[in-house]
Symmetry: D2
Subunit: 355 residues, 4 copies
């Protein structure tokens, strides 16, 4: 039941990197949700390889084809299925990966779990390419949420140690995210310096990681449930579904561990007739329930494990240590492309919560 | 459906701080699991108030009473229910909390969600006291996991900025955790300095937070599922069910964001006939599936929001800004007591994964 | 995960016939639902042994004790737990049942599944006594549904071949059910003849079964979902959770199999501004979605398997055919007591659907 | 979440009668399950229109196209998605159906739920055509179950009042089902008389229903869980997902309601070293758990609601009574085609139970 998530809105993702198609079924959207396919495609383009720069050689035709659930531009109430055909799946030989697992990838664990039946080509179901399916579902959710007054935006808060300006936690500058740049940032200069670091890593046959910050604005107070269905529970479960995410924190997050209570507690005040908090260390949820303040979280993205340098691995058949050199061009930093994926995953989680 | 979690092992937690009892139903344990009630009680004592020091005045009789599912010391195959009676529930007046929500607590969001029906006494269902139920279920899971060769231990990695020695990520010194100390640590001196900081905060009418590190050893490779049912997804969802947790990270976690791929990738090597990794930046899971290496994670705990200092809040009926002073003695640091709760939650998640 | 059901309203049932207590957790009720404990007790009394006549010797004190979730007579938003303490659990020797399984009971299958760990006393978790927990949860749901204009009633449509008058399928005479009689029926005379058959069976050391008909009135059109979450799917799954149910049918049910389409199709007509059907062969649901007409279903109840006659069984240890005589007094017909249980289960299912 | 079912094996069905494609995602199959596409196609042909005779004019190209999850004829461990493209979707005008709902169909309830967004063409997601997706998933499950020694077969036990010979409940003559005949029966003569009745109904511009009996042989004792995850619960929930099913019964079913306990109880005996029952009134499950005897159930199928006779309906816009005449050719009896669908649904449920 690995690739199904959600209670009221149920998402089922399928496909391998080199299967005939990848896709997603979205079950639970109400009838009458308008789907702007142009806007969806524009959103998905932010995730496509090539963005951020210098990436995998494969050209993707990521335009989703809707098989069901949409009629005349609106959801009809039955499950939406959209697929992306995998054209141009190179027939190159992947048997090496079956033999010698790539460090940092799922080759080894997939071998343990699925044996030689694992579809190793391009990473199979573990491929980052599958995040395109998250973007289809999430892109639709983002459009729906907008009609409910909820906006979600993310940016690269940090890449290779270079920091962007953070969102204002109490009033996120959502409209100021520069999505048109190669890297979605608030501060254009930071984006440029990040790009320099990415290029430097690439020339070193290496890769870099980073941190994505995401803000969800406009969720009314009172959504989410205490204990296991709170805002943090639901968001963290889906965010860790994105390959390479190694950590998540809400509001003050890990820095809260070093605060004193008097400093960490967010003072309430009346903002007109609305109860608000002066700071937002709680990150928009108290006891798992939304407070009406922006939900703010950050996700740590590890550096792309596919690096061209010689690495240490093992031969699974010969059971001995074996060096591994990964050939081909690889994306030296997936953080820029992870930004819309984080937005998409957050949108799916929020939809499930408010439907 | 807030307080139910799990697929194969389903945990349902109930109770409010001042209801007649709190408790848990554990559905899905196989028949024949031995339950050592002495060991369970010893485990639960590590969570009880008083541990760590200077805590809430309420004395708790936390001995669980098994209502069902256990016969002659073994699970019988039907759901286990255990409760803790809430004796000594003081009848003090809590109406003030309904009027003026405490910053950092769920009073406000509970009011939005449940209105005046919310059982505000002692925090209701949001009370940290409910973690005793997690400890019952988790304590049983810990005993079961031990029979499967799986051991789980946590310690206070950091409190008020004072750091304990971290677990060795490739071979956690699980047996070396000093659970007999007021604070579970690896380095006794660190524990003493932590305690000094806690006492200092208390004398300042304030509180401090920290970080708990947890290691899960002995899970064979191949458990967990890609995408949404991976090790990180399952663990993070339950860990955020513990009040005050604001972040979680696996393996290298947020520090992976600053590494290069060549540094972050864990080299495989043959350790006898077993495939292992030289480092453990991946934290025991690749593609959501266990690698056979220890699963290592850290959770950030915010400082206790109940501080005796004057705070800013609002009157929910008069709709105006209102100062708030919380009277009574409070635990200036819940991190020591959170250590066994983290172990318990991890044990529940791992049981659900391997059953 | 056997004893947990529901999506939005999640019910978790626990207990064995002779465990310390049996009970139920109800997770997902909104805050502010009024619970009339007197009315609940009156409802539960309809299920209690003694009703219908001549039943098991055990006297039950079935008054539920609320451990959580209720404050001042209203749900507070957190999970409701109610238990019934098992006082007077006789210490008689049940080892015989472990050795020689009773035909028609779950002794054999429980042995296969749980081995000697199964709590065989009184049937353990398989005991009809557990339906008291369904009645607690369902009784609360019935009270809640009434506030939403939804009424549910059942009656013994048939016992030992004696038929009661059926509900009018288009306008059920819900108020005319004679719940005060030993057997809930529409036609008092039918009830008397049923009782005669029950007494006759009892004097023959035997038992009889029957059919319960249930009507759910007032559910607005548009609830339920096509395919697997339709009205029939949800109701049938929970109704088969009641021991001894062997079949369920909706509307015309099995008799529809012998109709022609022109006869089975229910003609639509305008009833004022409402669309209604002249007949109700569809049983209130089309495509899984409520039509606004009463939801009508019937459940077949097999005769009580505990009969005093000598029966054929096997010795599980000696692996040979062995006769079995069950001693003690037994209820010769559980159908009268099953009527409120069916109402309760239906109420839980409908609540889950409309919340 | 209407069209998703299963816990360990999760099936997600999508598509409308006239959408670009219909299909199914199967999440949870282990890696290494062999899929014989020829055998699958042969199985699906038994469901295809034309079988049984004289059916809808639309010619279907029901060969499934596997988009994911299968590599070199074996499942690879990741979700399987298979679709059937909807070629030849006639562009005829369906607006009449939106205006005047067909009696016995879901047009009215879909209108209430989805408004004018409902994809009314060909019945949309409510179309019997969607059962082809059940057959894809179920056909694969049938192949997998065979490797585990489990066989499933169904036949038309009754059509228009004409009865086939029933399965022997203790030793089903599974191999003797005449699937090659237009109607799957045990008794060829019964099948011929059924066909005569179908033709007669057709010439009367009418339709007929029937009963399908299904046997599941080879499930070892001990599967299924008490209360809500028992054999009957799981099977009934999915079987009611098949359009036109109005009732289900297990073992003796409704006739058990008229038996005495001494007659209904199935005597245990030793059959070599196996515990078996002499009769099978319990239908293969006691307390929800398989007994090792065949699981036997029957499903009632109502007559096809699409009949060519003039019917009474309403105009949803003019809010007045309006006659309706459905034009075009229709299948006068879907029971023959329902036989493999019942087998498919049963296979999915059993797979979910034993995985």
């Amino acid at each position: 039941m690995s690739s199904v998530i959600g209670e009221k809105l149920r998402i089922s993702i399928f496909g391998q990197s080199h299967s005939e198609a990848i896709g997603v079924v979205i079950d639970g959207l109400p009838a009458g949700v308008a789907i702007d396919e142009e806007e969806l495609l524009a959103f998905m383009t932010r995730r496509a390889p090539g963005r951020g720069a210098h990436t995998t050689s494969r050209s993707e035709a990521d335009k989703p084809r809707f098989l069901s659930g949409v009629a005349d531009g609106f959801t009809c109430g039955s499950p939406v299925c959209a697929i992306i055909e995998n054209t141009n799946t190179r027939s190159k030989d992947y048997s090496n990966l079956r033999e010698i697992p790539r460090p940092g990838h799922a080759d080894f664990t997939a071998f343990v779990k699925y044996g030689n039946f694992h579809d190793i080509r391009g990473g199979g179901h573990f491929s980052g390419r599958l995040t395109a399916c998250l973007c289809i579902a999430g892109g639709i959710c983002l459009q729906y949420l907008k009609t409910r007054g909820i906006n979600i935006a993310a940016h690269a808060l940090e890449i290779a140690g270079v920091s962007d300006r953070p969102f204002s936690p109490v009033k996120p500058e959502i409209t100021s995210v520069l999505h048109s740049e190669p890297i979605s940032v608030l501060d254009k200069n930071a984006g440029e310096r990040m790009m320099e670091e990415i290029i430097k890593a690439k020339s070193d046959l290496d890769s870099v990681g980073g941190i994505v910050e995401c803000a969800i604005c406009g969720v009314p107070a009172g959504y989410g449930d205490p204990m296991f269905d709170g805002v943090e529970n639901i968001l963290s479960r889906i965010i860790f579904g994105i390959p390479a995410v190694k950590g998540i924190e809400f509001g003050a997050g890990f820095s809260a561990a070093r605060m004193r209570g008097s400093e960490c507690n967010d003072a309430f005040f009346m903002d007109g007739d609305a109860v608000r908090t002066k700071t937002n260390n709680h990150g928009g949820a108290l006891g798992g329930i939304t407070s009406g303040m922006p939900v703010i979280f950050r996700a740590a993205i590890k550096p792309t494990p596919s690096v061209a340098r010689m690495q240490e691995s093992v031969s699974l058949t010969e059971r001995k240590d074996t060096p591994l050199e990964i050939v081909g061009r690889h994306d030296p930093c997936i953080v820029p492309r992870a930004v819309p994926v984080i937005e998409a995953a957050a949108a799916i989680a929020i939809c499930d919560m408010i439907l």
